[in-house]
Amino acid sequence: MLETLGNLGLGFSVALSPSILIYAFVGCLVGTLVGVLPGVGPLAGISLLLPATFGLDATRAIVMLAGIYYGAMYGGSTTSILMRIPGEAASVMTCIDGYAMARNGRGGAALALAAVGSYVAGTASVVGLMLLAPPLAEFALRFGPPEYLALLLFGLLVLAYMSSGSMVKSLAMAALGLLLGMVGIDQMSGYFRFAYGFVELGDGLGVVPVAVGLFGVAEILATAGKATPPNVIKPRLRQLLPSQTEWRESAAPIARGTVLGFLIGILPGSAHIISSFVSYALEKRLSRHPERFGQGAVAGLAGPESANNSATSGAFVPMLALGVPSGPIPAVMLAAMMVHGVSPGPLLIQQQPQLFWGFIASMYVGNLVLLILNLPLVGLFVNILRVPYPYLYPAILVFSILGVYAVNGSVVDVWIMLVMGLLGWVLRKLDFETAPIVLGVVLAPMIELSLRQSLAMSDGRYAIFVQRPISAVLLVLGVGLVLLNVYSSVRRSLDWRARLTLTEKGEEAR
């Protein structure tokens, strides 16, 4: 412990030097601005700005790229809250209650809570990263294909179990999302699947067009044509800050989201996305007022926002400790480190302690910079709500189209977004939740690959999933959730019959 503190002192001596501070600030600022633009998420932001760091030394470059990463993660929540456009898939859950809060005149409070939640989660998870990196990374290495499949299925079941509507409907939407995720070239055999002759669909459906369509465009289609369009909101200065009740209601969700996000973040895959979905579901289940979720519940915003930012730090654990990236963004970061002559892995701490601990300390500093930068910007961003809706929604549509087009420079993505917008609008009318579709699209390639690898490993025996302890536990928990849901449905139905019988008896007695 003393040695860790000593090392951290060394790190802070690096991170607090003026030149490093400037790069952390620039990284956070650029990241926030990039994250605010719909469609340009952290991955695109880091990839676009990577060449700009080639002239810097390794420490400055990594500190700046990390700043862009978590700046973009936070920036993504701004458009989600104010316009219901998820900058990237991890912000999907923020859209639901964050946007509802904004429409209730609490947009400033929502942005401030997101900033504070992100700061707390980011800082706390760096402590976790510092203390737990090596043992947690070793645990994550025990996950083979069967464990991943069990984990991913468990994530889907948790989301379905904790959704407000019917579990069957949520699972159907997850299955639909998984099927949409199968469109394109099969990774293992090279077969073209469900592309209906469109060569452009070879790479599959992107998460960004699907998420922006299902949330942003569907919202516009449902709202713009209403007889009474949404009111123009003119936030006052004191409304920009959360009330005491809102602070109180957000404390526990932020704490839970931080722990959950960090633990899920360590695991490979799109962890920050999964963590925000699971956190939302958890908060809804734990809430005394689950009916408020979707209507502007503070916990529905604070939990997922904290979880996705905490997962950001968690994702650095296997990357720094083992040199194994846990997703596409850490992979780009890893590539950036290698470009600068740094090889992450067990030897990094011993061979380049200044860089490792400077990076850790810069994450503390970066999170603080992000908070200082974003709280004053709340007042600026929230003015978007002053724009009358007939002028606001064409601008949102333009940003959605632009953001979706910018990812691959492809009009096909714009078409996908439009089809998903129409689908999302119809599904809202039919009382289906659309979030499981997005999660399904994200998880589909991982689930399919894990299933096929697991079956190849076991020579086609499904017993492999129950023979391995981690996957067995996860599957038992998942089945337990399904049974719990069936049990509560049966109990509700019996209650209804009992009430009806009593009513009938009462009528007969009269």
Partner: protein
């Protein structure tokens, strides 16, 4: 028809469409040890089929399909049609011209706002976003035959 019944039928039809497409493309199902490209879609289609039957059978809702509130469909169709125009014209007319035209249509024709503010708003939005993305962020946006 009740909403849940209609949803159940739609899910069953979707599952059937997935199975039909897998069969039409002659995607190999593979074996248990080496599942083919049709294996997972077939499993998911079976799940979707079961979910469709359950949604229709366990329906407790009395809401009907017609009562789901489709009153805004004309407005929604107009917005979707404008977006479809953008998708079609983006790489032919160029970003700035397409977006400006789409905004004018949305504001002046769909929202019935005065033409002059609509024109100014459209020009500002198209020009401003082009400058931000193309010039500042170097995201290449399409230019049309007139250099726009």
């Amino acid at each position: 028809m009740r909403i849940d019944r209609a949803s159940g039928v739609a899910l069953v039809l979707l599952a059937a469409a997935v199975l039909e497409e897998s069969w039409r493309l002659r995607l190999p199902l593979g074996t248990l040890a080496t599942p083919g490209p049709a294996y997972m879609p077939a499993v998911l289609a079976a799940g979707l089929l079961a979910a469709g039957v359950l949604v229709a059978a366990l329906s407790r809702s009395t809401a009907t399909l017609g009562g789901a509130g489709w009153s805004e469909w004309r407005h929604s169709a107009a917005i979707l049609a404008t977006c479809a125009f953008v998708a079609l014209a983006l790489e032919r007319l160029g970003y700035r011209l397409t977006i400006a035209l789409a905004c004018v249509v949305l504001l002046a024709a769909v929202e019935r706002k005065p033409v002059l503010p609509a024109l100014l708003f459209a020009a500002g939005l198209a020009g401003g976003t082009y400058y931000l993305f193309d010039t500042v962020l170097r995201v290449q946006l399409p230019r049309g035959p007139f250099g726009f």
